[in-house]
């Protein structure tokens, strides 16, 4: 067994040098980690599983990678080596990302972006990696389905002062403030996406397009009391019947409040705030307007 492992590791390193990632992973996965023929410690097993998973991920093969990360998850708590724990977490986040579980992936990327704060100096990752993890967290959050969970993550990211320095900050700000995203901004954001994030979904649109449409729909529901699907389709840049279908799905999943009148082809958005609370906001605006006038008069010496 030992000789076989040594040879496999040698051949795998050659594949790796030639960037034949999947071959290298298959070569290593041939090593029998659960053999009774020799003593293999948990740390060695963990290191091998993580290494194989990372190789598969290089070729965006999340399925095989997940198989080995699942094996690693049984081992990661037993050996307290922070470098391996870090690699494990990176792998796990990338697998969730590759499987388009963007909400969870964003959480894990964000956790990774705070790595240096919670661990000893020995494993201090460099600033670039942290920034990369943070950018990945923002990207995955934007790609995640609109709704309360995503709003919470957006708030966390928006309030994290490190995000202001990221290239994706402008779109993060617009998404957090629930403003409507223009086509040009979306195209610019799409350029930095990974291949699997650009993949087509069942209904032929990309993950990003769906996320943007849902986001804009949610923003529209904050802007308008009601709107016809004709207008809504024009606003979102899609056919009216598609706009109706997406709106219906979001209302059914309780991610947006509203009611659809199919005969009239119109959607009534329900606003959360009660009229009486709205009234208080208006009163505050009137009072501040009075304040403004008095300040202005004082300035003019009246």
């Amino acid at each position: 067994e030992d000789q076989v492992s040594t040879i496999r590791e040698g051949v795998a390193s050659i594949y790796e040098r030639d960037e034949e990632w999947t071959q290298a992973a298959q070569m290593l996965s041939g090593i029998d980690l659960d053999t009774g023929m020799r003593v293999v410690d948990d740390r060695y097993k963990l290191e091998k599983c993580i290494h194989i998973a990372m190789l598969y991920l290089q070729d965006d093969d999340a399925v095989n990678a997940e198989t080995f990360i699942k094996k690693a998850s049984f081992l990661v708590n037993s050996c307290k080596e922070e470098a391996l724990e870090l690699q494990y977490k990176v792998c796990y986040a990338r697998i969730l990302d590759a499987k388009r579980k963007f909400q969870e992936a964003a959480l894990r990327y964000y956790e990774l972006s705070q790595w240096e704060k919670t661990n000893t100096v020995a494993n201090r990752v460099d600033e670039g990696d942290l920034q990369q993890a943070l950018t990945a967290a923002v990207t995955c959050t934007i790609l995640a389905g609109a709704g309360p969970q995503r709003s919470r993550m957006l708030a966390t990211l928006y309030k994290d002062e490190r995000c202001a320095a990221l290239p994706v900050y402008p779109i993060l700000q617009k998404v957090y403030l629930e403003r409507i995203l223009r086509q040009a901004e979306v195209a610019a954001f799409a350029q930095d996406l990974k291949p699997h994030q650009q993949a087509l979904t069942a209904d032929g649109s990309t993950v990003l397009a769906r996320a943007v449409i849902e986001h804009n729909l949610l923003s529209a529901s904050k802007l308008y009391t009601n709107i016809t699907f004709l207008e809504l389709g024009a606003l979102l840049g899609i056919a009216p019947d598609k706009a109706e279908r997406i709106a219906a799905r979001m209302v059914a999943q309780d991610r947006m409040k509203g009611s659809i009148d199919q005969v009239e082809g119109i959607i009534q958005f329900e606003t959360e705030t009660e009229e009486i609370k709205q009234w208080d906001h208006q009163i505050a605006a009137v009072c501040f307007a009075v304040n403004g006038i008095l300040d202005n008069m004082q300035k003019k010496g009246m």
């Binding site: 009660e274 009229e275 009234w279 208006q282 009163i283 009137v286 006038i293 008069m297 003019k300």
Partner: protein, 40 residues
Amino acid sequence: SLLRQVSSLVRRLPAIDSAHFREEFLTEYNDTLLMTYLAG
């Protein structure tokens, strides 16, 4: 600029004027009067 501020202030009044608000306001009003009656 001052006159513009004043005209924008005037346009803000009445602060709210909708049947829905009137209905909510009266509901609140009646609830409180009912409580007062019950306390009495």
